[in-house]
């Protein structure tokens, strides 16, 4: 157990160090694409991805650095991509929001909110048709459940009993807009329930709890070939897009930021 905890801690630290370094060097203006840093949200990626085999697939969003690294994506290709180099994982055509490394099952990242969700469901359909024992995990933010295509995808996954884990990282903010201004309740599992999909809402910052819980869930998905919705409540410490802190804009409560950073 200690060994495992060390491993998770190491992963978390690695992700944070990479993101901090990007943040630090961004001002040199050589990374000429928007960056959506994962600082504060690393536990979700590390906790879930450490339960996955190489052939299990991950699909992600514009905020994909943590998922890419946690799934084992090549660090050098990622940094090269952000710098717009030919040696980047997309040959410089995608930038920070399109990270992928199919050799480790990091299949695709897309920047339009919820746009990647049906693609992940299609991937899960391919697993079902091929009678594969692997699962598909799709990461998205709290605003994605407000898009129609999330519901279209969840309905299809439920209807066809597809082996997919929907991971909703609730960082409370869609750019500057708090979840309370967008949703009648912060419990987003109610939306999964309406599609007959089993779900859990939990603290997404406790990496050990996320790891243990997602281990059970993934085992279940593999055994019964059924979708699952996991809401991980978390917080992003820096701005929505960019390397800095943006709390001088006063869109979120200072005490809230302090409390979450603890």
């Amino acid at each position: 157990m200690n060994f495992l905890n060390n491993n998770l801690a190491k992963s978390l630290l690695r992700l944070r160090m990479v993101e901090n370094e990007i943040s630090k060097r961004y001002s040199y203006q050589e990374m000429r694409c928007p960056v959506h840093l994962s600082i504060g949200q690393e536990a979700a990626a590390v906790g879930v991805c450490n339960n996955l085999k190489i052939k299990d697939q991950v699909y992600s969003t514009h905020r994909c650095h943590s998922h890419y690294l946690a799934k084992g994506g090549n660090l050098q290709s990622m940094i090269s991509e952000i710098y717009g180099k030919k040696s980047g994982c997309c040959g410089g055509r995608g930038g920070s929001m399109h990270l992928m490394d199919i050799s480790v099952g990091m299949m695709l990242s897309l920047p339009i909110v919820a746009s990647v969700i049906p693609i992940a469901v299609g991937a899960a359909m391919s697993k079902k048709i091929n009678k594969s024992k692997n699962v598909v995990v799709v990461f998205f933010g709290d605003a994605a459940v407000e898009e129609g295509v999330f519901h279209e995808s969840a309905n299809f996954a439920s209807l066809h009993n597809l082996p997919i884990l929907f991971v909703c990282e609730n960082n409370r903010y869609s750019c500057f807009t708090d979840v309370s201004e967008r949703q009648p309740s912060e419990d987003l599992t109610r939306l999964a329930r309406s599609h007959n999909i089993e779900s859990i809402k939990m603290n997404g910052n406790d990496v050990i709890k996320v790891f243990n819980q997602s281990k059970k869930i993934i085992k279940k998905i593999k055994k019964y070939s059924k979708p699952f919705f996991l809401q991980l409540d978390t917080y992003r410490y820096v701005e929505h897009c960019g390397p800095d802190n943006d709390d001088h804009l006063n869109y979120r409560n200072k005490n809230e930021v302090k409390k979450m950073a603890k």
């Binding site: 997309c90 995608g94 897309l110 746009s115 693609i119 295509v149 299809f156």
Partner: protein
């Protein structure tokens, strides 16, 4: 032995000459069925593909022949199922997705434009998206403003897509096969009345060229570029003009993207006159693109200003009363053609009166009975 071989030879010749006339919708069904039989990775998706009417008969009985995993009747979730199709396509499947109206596909523009069209590019060629989307365009039976648009240029605008618009039963099958063999997304726009057109369709699997337009009738007097169901309107005009020793060079566009203007330019260099008759709106239409791309290279190629005929700048109506004035008819087209020709007024009058005498007495909202073929 020699006699036997000779017999085989004659039999083969006889078989080659024998035409096999079926409708475009039957040709589409046959291509889909044959491809599904051959390639177990082909998945069919769409709303209503298992309906008793089988989308103009193009999907009839496929659900009885193939498993539920391969013929997926879809929830009414156009954007979702398009994304799901892309997910299958980047995981070694091929998908044929069908929309009974082009307007349904508008709900999936996000997936088509952002993901289907761009995945190959943005992943530096790592992900291919072998996805074919069939969509029905065009008029008929009062379908009205949100059920009978011709939005082919909307899709032709986006890099990363191929856009096909077949007019013959032969291409209905051949183009679908070519599209299904393409490693990246191909959209096929089918005019609803095109499904009833008949023609010679070989039984075996074959491909049609999907790289360029085709000259379907040689002529020296004027080049007419058209596509889809409108081809038959032009053939009708052309038959009448032949009687006056006027010969149209008719070009069937077939492939809207990538647009290959070479055959059109070659033809225009010969005839020095051009008319484009499109299924969609005249404004911002394919005709504008063609004329602009010719003039960019050859500013003095025309003896007469080129003209465009297309739908007027307003929504498509439902009622027959409005449809009559909305859709350009054979007389409008003929007038546009003879305007560019060097013939005297008397001949022009004779042409129009002969045309009027040949017009079938059919309602504006059903297919012209003369346009069924075989072609």
């Amino acid at each position: 032995m020699i006699i036997f071989l000779k017999f085989l030879h004659y039999k083969k010749m006889f078989m080659l000459n024998k035409k096999r006339i079926i409708s475009a919708s039957q040709a589409i069904l046959e291509a889909t069925d044959q491809f599904m039989k051959k390639d177990s990775n082909l998945v069919l998706m769409g709303e209503g593909i298992n309906d008793p009417k089988g989308i103009f008969g193009t999907t009839s009985n496929l659900s009885k022949k193939y498993s539920k995993n391969r013929v997926i009747e879809s929830p009414i979730s156009e954007n979702g199922i398009t994304g799901i199709a892309i997910g299958l396509a980047i995981n070694n499947f091929k998908v044929l997705l069908i929309h009974q109206r082009v307007e349904f596909a508008l709900l999936s523009i996000e997936q088509i434009f952002n993901n289907a069209a761009k995945s190959f590019y943005v992943t530096n060629g790592i992900h291919k998206v072998p996805l074919v989307i069939r969509m029905v365009i065009g008029r008929g039976w009062g379908q009205g403003p949100a059920h009978s648009q011709s939005l082919e240029t909307v899709f032709s605008y986006v890099p990363g897509l191929k856009v096909l618009i077949p007019s013959s039963a032969y291409d209905a099958k051949g183009m679908l096969v070519s599209a299904l063999r393409d490693p990246n997304p191909v959209l096929i726009l089918e005019h609803r009345w095109f499904h009833y057109v008949t023609g010679n369709v070989p039984k075996k699997i074959y491909q049609s060229d999907i790289t360029k337009p085709k000259i379907i009738s040689k002529g020296k007097d004027i080049t007419v570029v058209t596509s889809s169901y409108n081809v038959y309107e032009i053939i009708f005009c052309s038959e009448i003009l032949k009687k006056f020793n006027i010969n149209l060079e008719i070009i069937d566009l077939r492939v809207l993207r990538p647009l290959n203007t070479k055959p059109i330019i070659q033809s225009v260099k010969k005839t020095r006159k051009l008319i484009i008759f499109e299924t969609g709106n005249k404004i911002y239409g394919i005709g504008a693109e063609i004329i602009a791309s010719i003039l960019e290279k050859y500013h003095d190629v025309f003896d007469f200003p080129p003209s465009r005929i297309g739908l007027p700048d307003s929504p498509t109506p439902s009622t027959r009363g409005l449809a009559k004035v909305y859709y350009p008819n054979s007389i409008d087209i003929m007038k546009a053609i003879i305007k560019q020709l060097n013939v005297n007024v008397e001949v022009k009058k004779k042409i129009i009166s002969l045309l009027i005498s040949k017009l079938p007495s059919h309602e504006i909202d059903v297919p012209n009975p003369n346009f069924k073929g075989p072609f």
